[in-house]
C-alpha cells in the first residue's frame, strides 16, 4: 500500500528562515489520520513556526509538506482545507456567533437556512445553544474559544491546527475545554496538531508528543514514553526532571557500582552508562530517609532541611546538600535544620553520560 495515503500530514525535511536566520532545520514528522499530536517546546523553539508553515502562513525555504499525499508547500492557506484555532480566539468582532461559526460554510456556498441548521447543531455540541445572534464581544473567554472551536469544526475539517488556544483561559475553563476538544476529536476523528508550552496539556490531550528544541525535533513518542524515557538532558529537563546530580558509575562484578562524590558506593544491576554521568530527576522521585540509611538500588545523599512549607496534603521541604538545594515532598513532619538523607531510587533517574550529549539511559 502507498504509505503516503496512510499519512494525514507528512512534513519532510522542512526548513524555514526569517531573513538570514534559519528557524526550522529540516523537521520531519508524520501524522496518521485521526491522530492527536502535541508539539511541545519552550518559547522560540520553532513550534509555532512549524504549525504556521503547515497552515500556509509562513513560507518554507526547503522541504515538503504533504496533506494526504498532496504537496501543499506552494499552496496558499485558503486552498489547504485545514481549520485552525488561535491563541487570541481571532473571532470577527463585527459578526454574531452565527456569522462567525457559519462563515466557512458561507464561503463554501451553503444556503443560508442550511447554515443556520448546521451552526445550531455545532452550538448544541459546544453547549452554546441559543447564542446564535449574540455579538461575540459579549461572550466570556471560554465561550469565545468555544465559538472559535465551532467555527473551525463547522467546515468538517480533516485536519485541525491548534495554536495554544487554551493559554489565555483561566485554569478551570482550560481543563474543561481540554477534555471537550479531546472528546470531540475522538468523536469526529479529525487529525489534530496542537502547539503548546504546557506539558500537562500536551500529556493529557495527545496520542504522541513532539518535543522541539532550537528548530529541531528533540524526541517524538507517546506521552508516557517521553515522560519516562527522555532521550536527552534537554527533554528530561523539559519534562520536569530539572534536578541534577553528578554520579560516577564503574563496572563491578555482574553489575555496577554507583558513587556520588566521595560517598560510599551502591551496587546496582540495571543497565546504565559507565563513567561520569549526570542524573536528572523530578522532585517526586526523591524521598526523605535517615542520613545513614543504606537502601538497595537507591543512593542516599546526606543533607539538612532548610525550609518547610505546607501546600496541603503533604509537607514540602527544601533540603540543602552541599551548596545545592532540592525540593522534596513528604507526608511526615520534620524539624528544620535536621540532618536527613535524600533517597533517589536509581531506577527512577534519567542518566546521561557526560561524554555524550544525547542518548540517555533509563535505569
Amino acid at each position: 500500500m502507498d504509505s503516503s495515503v496512510l499519512t494525514a500530514i507528512d512534513v519532510d525535511h522542512l526548513q524555514v528562515s526569517y531573513g538570514s536566520q534559519q528557524v526550522l532545520h529540516g523537521v520531519s514528522l508524520s501524522v496518521a489520520p485521526g491522530e492527536f499530536i502535541a508539539i511541545l517546546g519552550s518559547s522560540g523553539c520553532g513550534k509555532t513556526t512549524l504549525l504556521r508553515t503547515i497552515a500556509g502562513f509562513q513560507k518554507a525555504s526547503g522541504g515538503a509538506i504533504r496533506l494526504f499525499g498532496r504537496d501543499v508547500v506552494r499552496t496558499p492557506p485558503e486552498k489547504r482545507g485545514m481549520a485552525m484555532m488561535f491563541q487570541s480566539y481571532a473571532l470577527w468582532p463585527h459578526m454574531t456567533v452565527l456569522g462567525n461559526v457559519g462563515y466557512g460554510l458561507r464561503l463554501r456556498g451553503v444556503p443560508k437556512t442550511e447554515i443556520r441548521g448546521r451552526v445550531a447543531t455545532i452550538l448544541t455540541m459546544l453547549n452554546l445553544s441559543g447564542l446564535e445572534d449574540r455579538k461575540v464581544t459579549n461572550l466570556s473567554g471560554g465561550q469565545r474559544q468555544r465559538v472559535a472551536l465551532g467555527r473551525a469544526l463547522a467546515i468538517e475539517p480533516e485536519i485541525l491546527l491548534l495554536d495554544e488556544p487554551l493559554s489565555n483561559l483561566d485554569a478551570k475553563v482550560r481543563i474543561q475545554l481540554r477534555s471537550e476538544i479531546k472528546a470531540l476529536q475522538n468523536r469526529l476523528k479529525f487529525t489534530a496538531i496542537h502547539v503548546t508550552h504546557d506539558r500537562e496539556e500536551a500529556m493529557t490531550m495527545a496520542d504522541r508528543i513532539v518535543v522541539m528544541d532550537a528548530g529541531q525535533i528533540a524526541q517524538i513518542g507517546a506521552p508516557k514514553e517521553v515522560y519516562d524515557s527522555p532521550n536527552s538532558p534537554f527533554v528530561a529537563s523539559f519534562m520536569g526532571a530539572e534536578n541534577t546530580v553528578s554520579l560516577d558509575i564503574r563496572p563491578s562484578g555482574s553489575g555496577v557500582e554507583v558513587r556520588v562524590g566521595e560517598g560510599s558506593a551502591v551496587s546496582y544491576n540495571g543497565e546504565v552508562p559507565i563513567g561520569p554521568v549526570t542524573a536528572y530527576f523530578r522532585d517526586d522521585v526523591a524521598s526523605l530517609v535517615d542520613p545513614d540509611a543504606r537502601i538497595d538500588g537507591s543512593i542516599v545523599l546526606p543533607g539538612n532541611i532548610t525550609q518547610r512549607t505546607y501546600p496541603g496534603g503533604h509537607y514540602r521541604y527544601v533540603v540543602a546538600i552541599g551548596d545545592r538545594h532540592f525540593t522534596v515532598t513528604d507526608d511526615r513532619y520534620h524539624e528544620l535544620d535536621r540532618p536527613v538523607g535524600l533517597r533517589l531510587p536509581l531506577a527512577s533517574l534519567h542518566l546521561f553520560s557526560n561524554t555524550q550529549t544525547t542518548g540517555g539511559n533509563h535505569a
Partner: protein
C-alpha cells in the same frame, strides 16, 4: 460640586477669547448677515438670490464632493488593503514609500501641477501620444469637473490611506489568518473581515476629506475656470467683484448645511455603534 476656581477660569480665558474672537464671532456674524435684509429685518432674500444664481453650482459642488469622496474611499481601501494583505514585499515597500507624497503638497500646488498634467497638450496626453497610445488629434483636455475630481482624489487619498492603513495594521492579524484558513481569498478577507473592523476610521477619514474638499478654493478656480463651478469660487466672486457679502454668506450657510449633513450621518452612525456596544 466644587465651585469653579477663579484662577482656573483665568487660565482658560485666553483660549476662550481666541475661539470667541476668531471663530465664533465671525461665524455668528456671517450667519446673521445671511438672514438679514438691508433694512435690518430677518429675510431669506439672500438665499433666494443665491439659489437663483447658483443652484447649478450647488448641485455641481455636491456632485464633485460626493464623487471625490467615494473615489478617495475606493483608492484608499485598495492601497491600504495591499499594504495590509499583499504577500509581495517589493510592492508593499514601493507603495508605502510613494503613497504619502501628495500629503505634503498644498492644494494650490497640486492644482498647478494638474493644470500642466491634464491639459490638452499636457504631460499626460503628450506621454500617451509619445507612447503611440493616442493620436495628437484625439487628445482632450481634462481641465473641467474631471480635473477637479482627479486633483481632489489625488490629494486626499494619502490622508485617508494613512488613517486606514494604520487602523488595518492594528487589527488582530489572527482574524485575517482565521479567514484565509477557512478558505477566504484575500479580496474577501479585505471586504468581509478587515473593512468592517476599520469602518469607523474609514468613515472619519472620509467625513474629514468631504469637508476639506468642500472648502477648497484654489483647485476649482485653477483647474476648471469655466461654469459650472464650486461654491467656494462663487463666494470669492461675490465678495471680490461685487462686495456682496450677504449672498456670499448665504452660500456659506449652504456649505455649512452640506457639511453639517455629513457630520450628522457620522454622529448618527457613532451613536448607533455605542448603543450596540
Amino acid at each position: 460640586m466644587a465651585r469653579p476656581s477663579f484662577f482656573g477660569l483665568l487660565l482658560i480665558a485666553p483660549a476662550w477669547a481666541m475661539i470667541g474672537g476668531l471663530f465664533l464671532y465671525p461665524l455668528g456674524f456671517s450667519l446673521i448677515a445671511a438672514f438679514t435684509e438691508p433694512g435690518g429685518g430677518l429675510s431669506l432674500m439672500h438665499f433666494q438670490k443665491a439659489y437663483e444664481l447658483y443652484s447649478t453650482d450647488i448641485l455641481f459642488t455636491i456632485f464633485i464632493v460626493i464623487v471625490s469622496t467615494l473615489l478617495t474611499g475606493l483608492f484608499a481601501i485598495v492601497i491600504a488593503g495591499i499594504l495590509t494583505l499583499s504577500e509581495t514585499p517589493w510592492l508593499v515597500t514601493a507603495l508605502r514609500n510613494l503613497y504619502r507624497w501628495p500629503l505634503f503638497i498644498p492644494f494650490i500646488v497640486a492644482a498647478q501641477c494638474m493644470r500642466t498634467f491634464l491639459a490638452k497638450n499636457g504631460l499626460m496626453n503628450n506621454s500617451f501620444v509619445a507612447l503611440g497610445l493616442m493620436e495628437p488629434l484625439q487628445t482632450t483636455s481634462l481641465l473641467d469637473w474631471r480635473g477637479i475630481i482627479i486633483t481632489f482624489v489625488w490629494k486626499q487619498v494619502p490622508f485617508v490611506t494613512l488613517m486606514l492603513a494604520g487602523a488595518m495594521a492594528s487589527v488582530d492579524r489572527a482574524t485575517i489568518e482565521a479567514g484565509r484558513n477557512l478558505g477566504a481569498s484575500r479580496l474577501r478577507v479585505l471586504i468581509e473581515l478587515v473593512l468592517p473592523q476599520v469602518a469607523q476610521t474609514l468613515l472619519v477619514g472620509l467625513v474629514l476629506s468631504f469637508v476639506t474638499m468642500l472648502s477648497v478654493l484654489s483647485v476649482p478656480m485653477m483647474v476648471a475656470g469655466s461654469q459650472p463651478t464650486m461654491l467656494t469660487v462663487d463666494m470669492a466672486f461675490r465678495i471680490n467683484s461685487y462686495g456682496d457679502y450677504a449672498t456670499a454668506n448665504a452660500l456659506g450657510v449652504i456649505s455649512y448645511v452640506i457639511a453639517g449633513t455629513v457630520a450628522w450621518i457620522y454622529l448618527r452612525h457613532n451613536i448607533k455603534r455605542e448603543v450596540q456596544a
